[in-house]
Symmetry: C2
Subunit: 344 residues, 2 copies
């Protein structure tokens, strides 16, 4: 038992490792103040919010060695991407981004400056998307890990778009371009591919892999334009279309020739002996939105996404009676979907 | 490129490891259906809820090797405790438990049955506390980890109790008994301590360590009885009292002799050469509630907690002007607070 008359303050010896509470305090200092919807932010037992209408809540984690490698991505970009991929689930609901909560698992070989760089990346993404970082926790962990909870909002639950509402006759649409993230990953993994594409294109493909943009405004535009089912493309077009097919009890019939393929993907695919259609249809991590809209609202959906100004919307197929996904090739053949399963 | 005419279903070869989607599907089958406040539960991009009033949201993670060891706790109890400790933060706000979201990090040496046991433990705790498991995710991970987000509710934000409202003159109260979790940990770690306490008492101390009960009803009772600041005891009384002191800009003056010490703690402390006051004041993980109530509402608070029927409420000190925590010993000395910091 130690006896001391001094009351205990939050001091630490100068050479001691930074503790949980200090790291959280420094995180709070660096973050933009949350908006008025957050009545009580980080630093208490819980954050207090007063949501109006409906909330969409999603959890998502990325783990070193599984979802990223520190030798291939900056700590800041890991933080940015982690929150981006979590927010992509809110985009796929057509929700407006609201609050984010993060749990940072810090390994022994990451120092305080490193942890703060990850947090800065998270803060950048929060600022870019108008998301309030309302809570967080840090813990020691054998590998760097980022676990996010994101909460989005809509005026009413009916305005949020789930996966189960697709109906035969709906047109299948996708935002942006596909295959870029997979091609970027190949470029990261195989130095010998560098000459395959001009430097500017290569940089763009790496950004698709390392710094994806959640299609938040596009998701809201699609919801407002009558989208009946929507999902974000994290596991790959084939796999994610399969989730809509299963939830809606329909078949997703997609024309591979109609897929909007990202510039440079064909060149990278050719140089690495991979089929470009495979990169676009099964590559994953593009974080574009796949949606099913009633045929008579297709033009409205295309205009609504164009009006956002971020990217375009491309019709790629049709919902039909049946089950599963058909990725139809021009020659009448089929492409096998595939995709990324977190546990495999 | 593979060509196949068959649409893709959710089948897998019999000997393949269980994938993310199947594990989540089996988790959903095992869970009690969420209540009407959850419009859309697990299995979509996000859960949809329609909260009324104010929400309290907290995130919490436990990691193998940092917060638990698989050779000392059953997988089921790890799941139970993980959700209990997360819900304890809602108790400390005086919130009614609402929804929980979990991310399970699964290491290579945990098989499907093991993962489902962890999930069963989480499901048991959800059922015991009336919490709806509204969402989840699984990922591979180098160590077993459980990341929780819990959402609680109150009619208005003013009904939720933060850490910053304590004022000089308030009485400091604590629910239940202290030191049991720390004594239970000693029993787990040192086989030679077993003879120190009768088997029944030893079992009770182990339960305090392995299967804590979140004081949810007590937290609401304290909030209704005018508690102005509240926190749950996870890091240890001294450390957690320090958080209230810092947030409220007051000094927390606590009488060590007044602390309600759990039965068996003195015996375990004596056998292992530790001071029992240290176990009660710095041991951590008791998950009791520490609150500050206006002096003229102390009797009401004691009655309100007693009426819940789970445990008692003990006055242990007074809020005074100043800063930090004083743990006062009967001889006029002071006990050093200490406590557990996740990163140290």
């Amino acid at each position: 038992m130690t006896s001391t008359a001094a009351p205990i303050g939050p001091r630490r010896p100068d050479n001691a490792p930074m503790g949980e509470f200090e790291l959280l305090a420094r995180l709070r200092e660096r973050l933009p103040p949350p908006g008025p919807q957050v009545r009580l932010g980080m630093g208490d037992d819980a954050a207090v919010t007063v949501p109006a209408g409906a909330t969409a809540t999603s959890v998502d984690a990325i783990v070193e060695g599984v979802h990223f490698r520190r030798d291939r991505a900056s700590l800041r970009s890991i933080g940015r991407k982690g929150l981006a991929t979590a927010l992509s689930d809110l985009a796929a609901m057509g929700a407006a981004p609201g609050e984010a909560y993060v749990i940072l698992g810090i390994p022994a070989d990451l120092d305080e400056d490193g942890a703060l760089e990850v947090l800065d990346g998270i803060g950048e993404q929060a600022l870019a998307t108008g998301t309030a970082l309302a809570g967080g926790d840090v813990t020691r962990s054998p590998a760097l890990s980022l676990s996010f909870t994101v909460v989005g909002h809509a005026a009413a639950p009916e305005q949020l778009v789930a996966r189960g509402g697709a109906a035969p006759g709906d047109r299948i649409v996708v935002t942006g371009e596909l295959g870029g993230a997979a091609a970027g990953l190949l470029l990261l993994e195989q130095d010998e591919l560098a000459p395959a594409v001009p430097e500017q294109l290569s940089a763009a493909l790496l950004r698709r892999q390392l710094d994806p943009v959640p299609r938040l405004a596009e998701g809201r535009a699609l919801a407002a334009a009558g989208a009946r089912a929507m999902i974000d493309l994290s596991d790959g077009l084939g796999a994610d279309a399969g989730h809509i097919a299963a939830a809606s009890s329909v078949q997703m019939r997609i024309e591979v020739a109609a897929l909007p393929v990202c510039a440079g993907v064909r060149e990278v695919a050719a140089a690495s002996g991979v089929d470009p259609g495979q990169l676009a249809a099964a590559g994953g991590e593009d974080y574009e939105l796949l949606a099913c809209v009633p045929a008579d609202r297709l033009a409205e959906a295309v205009s609504a996404v164009a009006a956002v100004g971020g990217t375009s919307l491309t019709p790629i197929g049709e919902v039909v009676a049946g089950e599963g996904v058909e990725l139809r090739l021009p020659d009448g053949g089929r492409l096998a979907p595939g995709g990324f399963d977190q546990l495999r």
